[in-house]
């Protein structure tokens, strides 16, 4: 099992366009579905309100880490669903957007790491919410047993 999430996606747009989409706070807000209070500044907290339907009560809080033009944008954020969670007190994970030139335009590699920092409670909560856990596991066992009587 991996302790990080990694996604690679090719975007049919020049690297400069993708860089703007991920680092201009208004553009970021459009696709990420968050209304941000102001621009991203390395070392500073970014605040806002999630606009994704059903999650509007959740505040966005992240600490911008790196902004290397057209190469790397990264921030840390927390995973608490408590409305009064504080980014400085919660354990965080690191989110990195890396950009490279690709034939079609831009190759974006997204990684999120540091899940070992998260407390049990958060994992447990999502585990209960997410029907995938034990129910799925039981089905796997059933299927396995059925195949090999």
């Amino acid at each position: 099992m991996n302790d990080r999430i990694e996604k690679r996606i090719e975007l049919k747009a020049p690297i400069s366009r993708v860089w703007r989409a991920i680092t201009d706070y208004r553009e970021f807000g459009e696709w990420f579905r968050v209304k941000l209070e102001g621009p991203f500044v390395p070392g500073q907290v970014s605040r806002g309100q999630i606009t994704y339907p059903g999650y509007e009560h959740i505040k966005w809080q992240a600490i911008v880490q790196s902004m290397e033009p057209e190469r790397l944008f990264s921030f840390t954020w927390h995973h608490s669903v408590e409305p009064d969670a504080d980014i400085f007190k919660e354990p965080t994970t690191l989110v990195e957007f890396r950009l490279e030139k690709a034939e079609a335009g831009t190759l974006l590699t997204l990684t999120e790491s540091g899940f070992e920092n998260l407390p049990d409670a958060i994992r447990l909560e999502s585990f209960r919410r997410n029907d995938g856990g034990w129910t799925e596991q039981m089905k796997n066992i059933e299927a396995y047993v059925a195949q090999k009587p």
Partner: protein
Amino acid sequence: MSRRNPDRKTAARRGQAPVFAALGDETRLSLLSKLSSGQPRSISELTHGSRLTRQAITKHLRVLQRAKIVRCSRSGRESLFEFNPQPIEELRSYLDLVSEQWDQTLTRLKSFVEN
């Protein structure tokens, strides 16, 4: 898998089960594979066939126990160790959830920059 070993004090202060740290070790993984059948085993059984001493195996079992991946019960004078898959399942389930959310978010980014 992370090879980093967060120090024990930090992990204890946060009150977390350091599942990744517990899994990032060959000996502990091999102990888990011995326990994965579901059958509770004693330290002697787990030490059998290993080059490690009983003390070393005990130390590794304690790490797994702290991460709640292994449960310990007593049978007479013996301690029996048993595999508990729940913390690993929780972690996998959470990573799946976050992973799925990123897929959706990146799909929105894709249409945002391509249109």
